[in-house]
C-alpha cells in the first residue's frame, strides 16, 4: 500500500511538472540556411550570415527571439566602399545587443537605434548604408513586434492567407529608406534616415502561422500568390519539410530572376518608370512558425536580377 501511495505522489508531481512546462510554451528555434553566392553555387555561406551585400541574424534572449535582415545598398561599390560591411556589422551588432539583453522586446525600433549608435562608437570608420527589418517574437505573450526601415519586409500567413505584411518605405524609385554613415565630404549629399523613421507594428500570432521575412528580392520577383502557393505545400511540421519548402521558394524565385521572359513585379514597375535598372543583390529569409513546437526556419537566397527590357543578365562585378 505504501509503495502505491508513494508512486501516486510521484505521479502527481510529474504530471504537474509537465503541465507547467507546456504552459510556458517555450518555443524552439530551428534555422536552416540555404545560400546562393554570386557564383551560383549552392550552400556557400560567405562571411557567416552575409550573402553578397545582405546580412541577417537570429538571436534569443530569455523570452524573446529576434530575427533581423539588412540589405546593403549596392551603390556604395562605385565609391570604393564594400556595401556588405555596413549591413553585416549592423546585424552582428543587433545580435550582440539581443544576446546581452540590451533591448525591450516590445520596442524593435530600439534595437535599430541602439545598433546604429553602436556602429558610430566603433573606432573603425565604417561607411555604407542599408535597409533593416527587425522582427521580435515574444514567446510568452505570443506577440510579434516588428520594425521595418526601407524596402525589406515581412509577411504573416495564416491558413493560406496573408494576414499581416509590411509596407515598403521608399524615397523614390529603387531608393528605399536606409540607415547610413557617410564620409564627411559627402555629408548632406548622402541619404541618411534616422532609425526612428522605421515603421513599427505589433500583433498577436497563433500557432500554425507562417512568418516570412525577406528583402526586396523576394517581393520584387515573386508575386504574393506564388509565395502562398509554395507555402500551401508545407504539410508537416518537421525541420526537413520546412527546409524543403523554403528551398523550393528560393529556387523558384531564382528561376524567375533569371527568366528573361518573366515580368516580375519589380521589372514591371521599372519599365513603367522607363528605367533600365542594373542588377542588384537580392535575397530573402523565411521564418516559419508551425505546430506546438513553433519551429522557425531561416532561409536565405540571393541572386541577380535581370532587366526584362534588355533581356540580358547584368552580373555585378565583385
Amino acid at each position: 500500500m505504501f509503495s502505491v501511495l508513494s508512486y501516486g505522489r510521484l505521479v502527481t508531481r510529474a504530471v504537474i511538472g509537465g503541465l507547467s512546462q507546456t504552459d510556458s510554451r517555450d518555443y524552439s528555434l530551428v534555422t536552416a540556411r540555404c545560400g546562393f553566392g554570386k557564383d551560383f553555387r549552392k550552400g556557400i555561406l560567405k562571411k557567416g550570415m552575409c550573402y553578397g551585400d545582405d546580412a541577417c541574424f537570429i538571436a534569443r534572449h530569455r523570452s524573446a527571439d529576434v530575427l533581423g535582415v539588412a540589405d546593403g545598398v549596392g551603390g556604395w561599390r562605385d565609391y570604393g566602399v564594400d556595401p556588405s560591411q555596413f549591413s553585416g556589422t549592423l546585424m552582428k551588432t543587433c545580435e550582440r545587443l539581443v544576446k546581452e539583453g540590451r533591448f525591450v522586446p516590445s520596442n524593435p525600433v530600439g534595437v535599430l537605434t541602439s545598433s546604429y549608435y553602436e556602429l558610430l562608437q566603433n573606432k573603425v570608420p565604417l561607411l555604407g548604408s542599408s535597409t533593416a527589418c527587425i522582427v521580435v517574437l515574444d514567446r510568452q505573450s505570443h506577440r510579434l513586434h516588428t520594425a521595418n526601415l526601407g524596402d525589406s519586409g515581412f509577411l504573416v500567413v495564416r491558413g493560406g492567407e496573408v494576414v499581416h505584411h509590411s509596407d515598403e518605405q521608399q524615397h523614390y524609385f529603387n531608393t528605399p529608406f536606409q540607415l547610413s554613415i557617410a564620409p564627411p565630404e559627402a555629408e548632406g549629399a548622402v541619404l541618411s534616415d534616422s532609425p526612428d523613421a522605421a515603421d513599427s507594428s505589433s500583433f498577436d500570432v497563433q500557432l500554425g502561422d507562417i512568418i516570412l521575412t525577406a528583402t526586396d528580392g523576394l517581393f520584387d520577383n515573386m508575386p504574393e500568390h506564388m509565395i502562398l502557393q509554395e507555402l500551401k505545400k508545407l504539410k508537416k511540421t518537421n525541420y526537413e519539410s520546412i527546409q524543403q519548402t523554403a528551398r523550393s521558394i528560393a529556387e523558384q524565385a531564382h528561376v524567375l530572376a533569371y527568366d528573361p521572359n518573366y515580368m516580375s513585379p519589380f521589372a514591371q514597375f521599372a519599365c513603367d518608370n522607363g528605367l533600365n535598372v542594373r542588377g542588384n543583390d537580392y535575397h530573402f529569409f523565411m521564418r516559419v512558425e508551425i505546430g506546438d513546437k513553433a519551429e522557425v526556419v531561416l532561409i536565405s537566397v540571393h541572386w541577380l536580377h535581370s532587366c526584362p527590357a534588355s533581356g540580358r543578365m547584368t552580373p555585378r562585378e565583385e
Binding site: 545587443l97 540590451r102 549608435y117 573603425v124 570608420p125 564620409p183
Partner: protein, 624 residues
C-alpha cells in the same frame, strides 16, 4: 481479502511518469543561467579512496559590479567594461575590437600631463594598481585558478583579489574580507598578441564569487583589452595538503590583516624636549627632527605598528607632521570608520588626502567620514575621492563646509552620487583642479560651479552624460575660468564649433584639450584651425574619432602650436602623410602621435615616419 495485483497500465504509467519526472528535474538542475559556463570534471583528491571526489567548476563572470574607468561610452557596449562579463567574443584573435573591455588610459602619457596629480608620499612599493574591475560569478567556489583572456597588449594585470561576500546574497554579512590571490609588479610584455593569463593563485579559506582585478598599464605601448575572466574552483572546501602550502611572501607580512589602530592606552605628551634618559637607547640622543625624518620613510601600517612600541616612538608616530599627506587608497580593503576614527587625532595638519577606492560596501559611512573631515579638513588642499561609492550628498556638503581651502577635488567615477550633490562644490571657491569623470553632474550645478570657481586650472568633464549643452558650458568657461590650463571633454557629444570657438577665444592659456569622440565637431566649420591659431601653448590635443579632421587642420597645428607633445587623430580618412610630416617637423617636442584607423596612413608610412622621427611614439592600432 482482495488480492492487489498492480494494474499493468498503471504500472507503466507510473514508470513513465517517474522517468519523465527524473529527466525534467535533471534538466532543470543542470540548466544554467545566462552566460555561466559550467563544466563538471571529477577531480580526484588523490589521497585515499574513501575521500569524496571534489568537483571542479568553471565559470565566466556573470556581472560586472564596479570599475574605475573605461574607454567606451556610458550607454554603449563598445570598448566598455561590461564586455568582461560573459563568454569571450574575440579570444583567441588579437586586435582592437569593440567587444572587449578597455580602460581609459595606458602608458605614462596621462602622468606626463599638467593635469596629473602629484604622487602621494608613503605609497607602499607593492602598490601598483591604477585601475580596477570587480566581477561577480554565479557560484561561490574555492578558487583553484583565475584566467584572464587578454586580447590586445596584454600584461596590465597586477593584482587579483577575492572577497568573502556573496554579492547576490539577500543578507550580506557585516564582515567583508578581501584576500589577495596573486600580486606582482608590472612587467613588460613585448607582444600585442592575445594571451590567456593564468597566474598561480593562493589557496583561500573561504568560498568566493566576487573577484577583483587590478591593473597597471604604465608599461604598455597601447590600450590593453580584456575579453573574459574565467574562475575555476571547487565547491567543497579542499583539504589543505602539505605540499600545497602557500608561500609566505614578505610583502604579505607588511600588508597583513592588522587594523590601523591605536594601542588603546592614552599617553600624555612628553615634556619639554630635553635629553632625558627615558630608556629608549640611542633614540634618546637623536634630535627630534631626525627621528621624524627616519619615521617619515615608513609606510602607514608600519607607522601605526611603531606607535605601539614605546612612548617616544608613539609621540613621533602620532605627530601631525607625519600626516601632512595621507594616502589610504592602497589599504582600501581594510579601511573602515574605526580606522578613520583612530587616525583623526593625528591628521589635524592634513593637506593632501587620498581616499580613492575606499569605503565601499558599507566600510565607510557618513558619520565616520564627516567626523574625520570636521577634525582634519581645515588645512586640506587636495582630496582624492575616486570611486568612493559611499559618498552621498551630505558628504559633499560636509566637504564644502569643512574644507574651505580645498584646491583639488577628484570625484572620478562616483557615478552613484546624486546630481544634487554637486551643487555644494560651488562653495569651494579656491578650486583649481576638479575631476568629474563619469559622474552624473547636471547642467545647472556645472554652471554654478563655473560661476564661482574662477580659479580653475584643470577641469575633467569626460563622459559627463547628464550635461545637456556643452556649448553653454564652454561659453561659461571662456568667460569665468580664464586661467584654465587643461580641459577634458572626452565624449562630450553635443559640443559644436560655436562653443569651441568661444573656448579658444577665452581660455588662451589652455595647454591640454581632450575632444575625443566629440562627434558634433565638424572640421569644415574651421573650428580646429581656429583652435590652433588661438591656443599657441597647446601641448596635448586629442581629436580621437573625429572623422572630419583633415590635412588643413594638421597644417594649421604645425604652423601655430610648436609646443605640441601629444596628438591623437584616430579614425580620420582625410589626413595624409604629407601633412603629418609637416607636423612632425614643426613640433620638435612631439612625443605621442596616434594615427590608428587613419585610412591614408598605412603601416609602411608609420614605419617610415618612425625612422625619420625616432623620438615620437607613433601608434597604429589594428583589428586582425
Amino acid at each position: 481479502m482482495t488480492h492487489c495485483s498492480p494494474d499493468p497500465l498503471f504500472l507503466m504509467l507510473t514508470l513513465l511518469s517517474m522517468f519523465y519526472y527524473i529527466c525534467l528535474r535533471r534538466r532543470s538542475r543542470s540548466g544554467t543561467r545566462g552566460e555561466a559556463l559550467t563544466s563538471r570534471r571529477a577531480v580526484e583528491s588523490g589521497q585515499r579512496a574513501t575521500l569524496p571526489i571534489s568537483v571542479e567548476v568553471e565559470q565566466y563572470a556573470k556581472e560586472v559590479l564596479d570599475f574605475s574607468s573605461h574607454y567606451g561610452s556610458e550607454n554603449s557596449m563598445s570598448y566598455t567594461m561590461w564586455n568582461l562579463a560573459g563568454m569571450p567574443n574575440v579570444y583567441p584573435s588579437s586586435g582592437d575590437f569593440t567587444q572587449t573591455a578597455v580602460f581609459r588610459a595606458y602608458g605614462t602619457w596621462w602622468e606626463q600631463c599638467v593635469s596629473a596629480p602629484l604622487p602621494f608620499r608613503r605609497t607602499p612599493k607593492a602598490f601598483h594598481s591604477q585601475d580596477y574591475i570587480e566581477l561577480a560569478f554565479e557560484e561561490p567556489v574555492y578558487p583553484t585558478a583565475v584566467e584572464v583572456l587578454e586580447t590586445y597588449h596584454p600584461g596590465a594585470i597586477v593584482q587579483i583579489m577575492a572577497c568573502s561576500l556573496n554579492p547576490f546574497s539577500q543578507n550580506p554579512p557585516t564582515d567583508v574580507r578581501w584576500e589577495v590571490l596573486w600580486a606582482e609588479e608590472p612587467t613588460k610584455v613585448l607582444t600585442p598578441q592575445a594571451r590567456q593569463f593564468s597566474p598561480s593563485i593562493k589557496q583561500l579559506s573561504f568560498p568566493t564569487n566576487l573577484i577583483r582585478v587590478e591593473v597597471n598599464s604604465s608599461l604598455l605601448k597601447y590600450y590593453t583589452e580584456l575579453d573574459a575572466v574565467v574562475l575555476r574552483g571547487q565547491k567543497e572546501r579542499p583539504i589543505l595538503s602539505l605540499y600545497k602550502m602557500p608561500r609566505i611572501d614578505i610583502c604579505d607580512l607588511s600588508d597583513s590583516d592588522e587594523e590601523l589602530s591605536d594601542p588603546g592606552v592614552s599617553f600624555r605628551q612628553a615634556g619639554d624636549g630635553k635629553h632625558i634618559n627615558l630608556g629608549n637607547g640611542y633614540f634618546d640622543k637623536l634630535p627630534y627632527e631626525l627621528i621624524q625624518l627616519i619615521v617619515s620613510h615608513l609606510t602607514l601600517p608600519d607607522l601605526c605598528r611603531l606607535t605601539q612600541t614605546c612612548k617616544l616612538l608613539h609621540q613621533h608616530c602620532c605627530d601631525p607632521l607625519q600626516y601632512i599627506q595621507l594616502s589610504l587608497q592602497p589599504y582600501w580593503a581594510r579601511l573602515s570608520d574605526t580606522s578613520l576614527g583612530h587616525l583623526q587625532g593625528r591628521c589635524t595638519l592634513l593637506q593632501r588626502l587620498n581616499l580613492s577606492w575606499t569605503g565601499n560596501r558599507g566600510a565607510l559611512t557618513l558619520t565616520g567620514f564627516s567626523s574625520f573631515m570636521k577634525a582634519c579638513g581645515g588645512s586640506l588642499v587636495c582630496l582624492e575621492l575616486s570611486c568612493c561609492h559611499f559618498l552621498s550628498e551630505p558628504c559633499l556638503e560636509v566637504i564644502s563646509q569643512t574644507c574651505p581651502g580645498l584646491q583639488e577635488l577628484n570625484l572620478s567615477s562616483c557615478d552613484r552620487l546624486h546630481p544634487q550633490a554637486f551643487t555644494h562644490i560651488s562653495k569651494l571657491t579656491r578650486l583649481r583642479r576638479l575631476v568629474l569623470y563619469r559622474t552624473k553632474i547636471e547642467q545647472t550645478a556645472m554652471l554654478s560651479i563655473l560661476t564661482f570657481c574662477i580659479e580653475l586650472r584643470h577641469l575633467n568633464l569626460g563622459s559627463c552624460v547628464m550635461i545637456e549643452d556643452y556649448d553653454v558650458v564652454a561659453s561659461m568657461l571662456a568667460v569665468r575660468c580664464r586661467s584654465l590650463r587643461s580641459l577634458d571633454l572626452w565624449r562630450c557629444r553635443n559640443l559644436t564649433e560655436r562653443g569651441l570657438a568661444e573656448l579658444a577665444a577665452g581660455c588662451r592659456l589652455l595647454e591640454e584639450l581632450d575632444l575625443g569622440w566629440c562627434s558634433t565637431l565638424q572640421s569644415s566649420s574651421g573650428c580646429f584651425q581656429h583652435l590652433a591659431r588661438n591656443l599657441q601653448c597647446l601641448r596635448k590635443l586629442f581629436l580621437t574619432a573625429n572623422r572630419t579632421v583633415c590635412d588643413s587642420d594638421i597644417e594649421e597645428l604645425a604652423a601655430n602650436c610648436p609646443a605640441l607633445q601629444h596628438l591623437d587623430i584616430l579614425g580620420t580618412r582625410m589626413v595624409s602623410s604629407s601633412s603629418l610630416r609637416k607636423l612632425l617637423q614643426a613640433c620638435p617636442k612631439l612625443l605621442l602621435l596616434d594615427v590608428s584607423f587613419c585610412a591614408q596612413v598605412d603601416a609602411r608610412i608609420v614605419q617610415e615616419l618612425c625612422g625619420l622621427f625616432p623620438n615620437v611614439a607613433i601608434k597604429k592600432s589594428f583589428t586582425q
